[in-house]
């Protein structure tokens, strides 16, 4: 064959080797672009407008949507509600999950069945979780209400009074997320060599000391990951639980940012305001993630 041909042939192969990765990425970028970036840009644009329900009237209002958001007492109340909801759900959720993981790490016969049972809440959608807990907490026919009545003699109106409603959605959220947290904790626990514990036992360390000095530090990468994943869950997916159980009520007391966004967008049809709230949420998540990775990462013990 002609040497020039071989040269060109080689060039083409080299070029295509460089191009193929990018070509393979095109479908993904198309989908991300169409379903995530494009709507995000449109939302950003819309947040500066006042829009009629059918979109036939638009009115540029600059930062007015954001101003009225930050000035409104209900938004401030929702900020507090969101903070309480997220922090309590994650903290209590992680503690309970860790305790369950320790228990589920024991080598007893039938442990697999227990693990499956504990994991199953995560397999249902937040809406189903909401339905289940609504039923359990129903003041007339719910098992939890009945148990409370028999044990404490108190008739709590779980979903219709404050702060019971907030506690109810926190409990439902923790319940739902148990499986997710436990799976990761279990794998983390199983990655800790038994030799560490043996060495500690020989040195005379008690169970509590072993837990806080060995288990917790060595689990910290997992905990770090789980915490930020749980933030995402409680900020966004919890919408399903809130919508089914309390619809943001009573009053405004179980309305988190995401629920208010849904309400402003799809019940009040105020899409300009909902877009503004969307942008605020993006900023909050961005700031939280940044702070988290910059400062909290220092506390993580990597081997």
């Amino acid at each position: 064959m002609h040497p020039a041909f071989t040269l060109v042939h080689q060039e083409v192969i080299n070029l295509s080797k460089k191009l193929i990765p990018y070509l393979l990425l095109v479908p993904t970028f198309l989908i991300i672009g169409l379903f995530i970036y494009y709507p995000a840009v449109m939302t950003f644009q819309k947040s500066f407008y006042r829009v009629s329900p059918f979109g036939n009237r638009v009115f540029f209002v600059g930062l007015k949507n954001f101003e009225s958001l930050f000035e409104s007492p209900s938004y401030q109340q929702e900020a507090v509600t969101t903070l309480i909801f997220v922090v309590v759900s994650i903290f209590v959720g992680l503690v309970i999950s860790l305790l369950f993981s320790l228990l589920l790490n024991e080598k007893v016969p039938g442990i697999g069945i227990f693990r499956t049972i504990i994991f199953s809440p995560y397999a249902v959608s937040p809406a189903i979780a909401g339905m289940l807990w609504s039923f359990l907490l129903n003041p007339v026919v719910g098992y939890v209400s009945y148990a409370f009545l028999r044990i404490f003699g108190v008739q709590t109106h779980w979903l219709t009074s404050y702060p019971a409603a907030l506690m109810a959605i926190i409990v439902a959220t923790i319940w739902q997320n148990l499986g997710f947290n436990i799976i990761f904790f279990l794998s983390g626990l199983q990655g800790i060599p038994e030799s560490y514990y043996e060495a500690a036992r020989i040195d005379g360390a008690g169970a509590v000391k072993r837990f806080f000095n060995i288990t917790v530090p060595l689990l910290s990468p997992i905990t770090f990951y789980l915490a930020i994943m749980d933030v995402t869950f409680t900020m966004f997916s919890s919408f399903g639980i809130i919508d089914i159980m309390t619809q943001g009520g009573p009053g405004n007391t179980t309305t988190t940012f995401i629920y208010r966004l849904y309400r402003d967008g799809f019940i009040y049809f105020n899409s300009g305001m909902a877009s503004a709230e969307s942008i605020v949420l993006i900023l909050i998540m961005g700031i939280v993630t940044f702070i988290y990775f910059k400062f909290v990462q220092k506390a993580v013990h990597y081997r």
Binding site: R57, F59, L159, Y268
Partner: protein
């Protein structure tokens, strides 16, 4: 060559005639689920069978909010349904949408349709600025269900329910039963639903908004922070504080469950639940009574406002489809269909002749509970107060009033403070919405 043309010509003629003879397809989005949805499908099937040149495709589109949401998206996407069911408080939003065809247009053109067959109160709700915009379909009323068996147990005459607020409180007092210091039965319960507040305003012939409740001109201010409004807040709050009423919380289901399980003897609810309540009473072996809303004795009686939804025609710029859609709407309004719909669902008929028919056929004699539902409405005045308010931000205003009531029941605000707060919020929301339609 000739043959080719002939074949081609025949195929063309065949295709064109096929197209011309093809039935017109109408898409109808509704928010009726469960047995209500089945009833809709039944009616649609009957219409399709009796009108071979029209095919109506009815689809359940979710709740009222979801249906409106989907309609907005479909309009923006350029492929909207032909007929859509929109809730009562969406009326101003639909008028402002610029994408609907007011029914009045067809009423003016079609001499075969007599708009006077519509019950005046129902017609009045969907008439704004002198035009009937949508075809009424499922209309409801507020009523108070009561447990006749519990009435008897308390020594009250079950066939003599209270008609004034004072009587109502006395009855609720008698029906509240305590055991070992705990209340095991409340006289009254109600969900925290803004619609009920609007109803009691109409009962007192009071307006929610200015400009004739938004029916003369676009409403610009809320006016429900009035003596009438305060009376309502106090009426409920006093009963809650006294312990003769239990707060059913947000939504309908909780309060309904409390009443159905006989933990409360009276329930403020809608006529659309009459079927369900009759079934609950049968299952629980107690007798269901239905009473009209009581009114304050010293205030002139106005009436009640209809709730529910109506059918709107979307402007698809397709005359054939619009004609077909109009045929469907006309047919639904006919007495025969209204009788079927009402007897099967508990919504009362919107057609006067249907009511007469059901009367003569003995339906109301057999089910007196259904009669109360119609009776209260027909006794209502037809004026701006009883026709109900119209504004583009009604969903938000209704929720605001619900929040205000919540604040009152939780002692976070006094009734007067809460009412004023609610009105201020309403004014703000209306101003923002109206700024789009300067």
């Amino acid at each position: 060559m000739w043959r080719k043309f002939m074949v081609f010509g025949m195929v063309l003629v065949f295709a064109v005639s096929f197209l011309l003879a093809a039935p017109v397809t109408i898409r109808f989005w509704h928010a009726m689920n469960g047995p209500l949805g089945e009833m809709v499908q039944k009616l649609v099937k009957e219409f399709n069978q009796t009108h071979p040149n029209i095919v109506v495709k009815a689809d359940y589109a979710g709740s009222y909010s979801e249906t409106l949401s989907k309609t907005i998206a479909a309009v923006k996407g350029g492929n909207p349904p032909d007929i859509v069911q929109i809730y009562d408080i969406g009326t101003q939003m639909m008028i402002d949408s610029g994408v609907i065809v007011p029914i009045q247009k067809f009423i003016n053109e079609d001499k075969s349709f007599d708009v006077n067959t519509l019950i005046p109160q129902v017609r009045g709700y969907y008439t704004v600025g002198g035009k009937l915009y949508s075809m009424p379909f499922n209309s409801s009323n507020p009523v108070i269900y009561y447990n006749k068996t519990l009435f008897e147990k308390a020594g009250l005459n079950p066939d003599n329910p209270p008609t004034t607020w004072k009587q109502f409180e006395e009855v609720a007092r008698k029906l509240t039963v305590k055991k070992n210091g705990k209340t095991i039965q409340y006289g009254f319960t109600s969900g925290l639903i803004g619609w009920f507040f609007e109803q009691y305003m109409a009962v007192q012939n009071a307006l929610m908004f200015n400009n004739g409740n938004g029916r003369i001109k676009r409403a610009t201010k809320a006016v429900f922070d009035s003596p009438a409004g305060l009376r309502i807040f106090n009426f409920w709050n006093n009963m809650i504080q006294e312990g003769i009423m239990i707060n059913g919380g947000p939504g309908w289901d909780n309060a309904n469950a409390i009443f159905a399980s006989q933990k409360a003897a009276m329930l403020l609810d809608s006529t659309s639940d009459v079927g369900m309540m009759l079934a609950e009473a049968k299952q629980g072996h107690w007798e269901l009574g239905v009473m009209a809303l009581p009114h304050p004795a010293n205030v002139p009686y106005g009436g009640v406002i209809i709730g529910g939804a109506s059918l709107w025609m979307i402007n698809t710029h397709n005359t054939m489809k619009e004609k077909a859609a109009w045929e469907f709407l006309k047919w639904l309004e006919q007495a025969k269909q209204q009788v079927q719909w009402s007897e099967g669902t508990g919504y009362f008929p919107i057609n006067k002749n249907a009511i007469t028919k059901m009367m003569y056929e003995g339906f109301y004699a057999k089910y007196p509970q259904y009669l109360t539902t119609v009776f209260q409405l027909l006794m209502s005045k037809v004026d701006y107060a009883t026709r109900g308010g119209v504004t583009g931000v009604f969903p938000k205003i209704r929720a605001t009033i619900e929040q205000a009531l919540s604040k009152v029941f939780d002692h976070a605000m006094t009734p007067a403070q809460a009412l004023k707060w609610a009105q201020d919020q309403a004014d703000q929301a209306m101003a923002q919405y109206n700024s789009l339609y300067q």
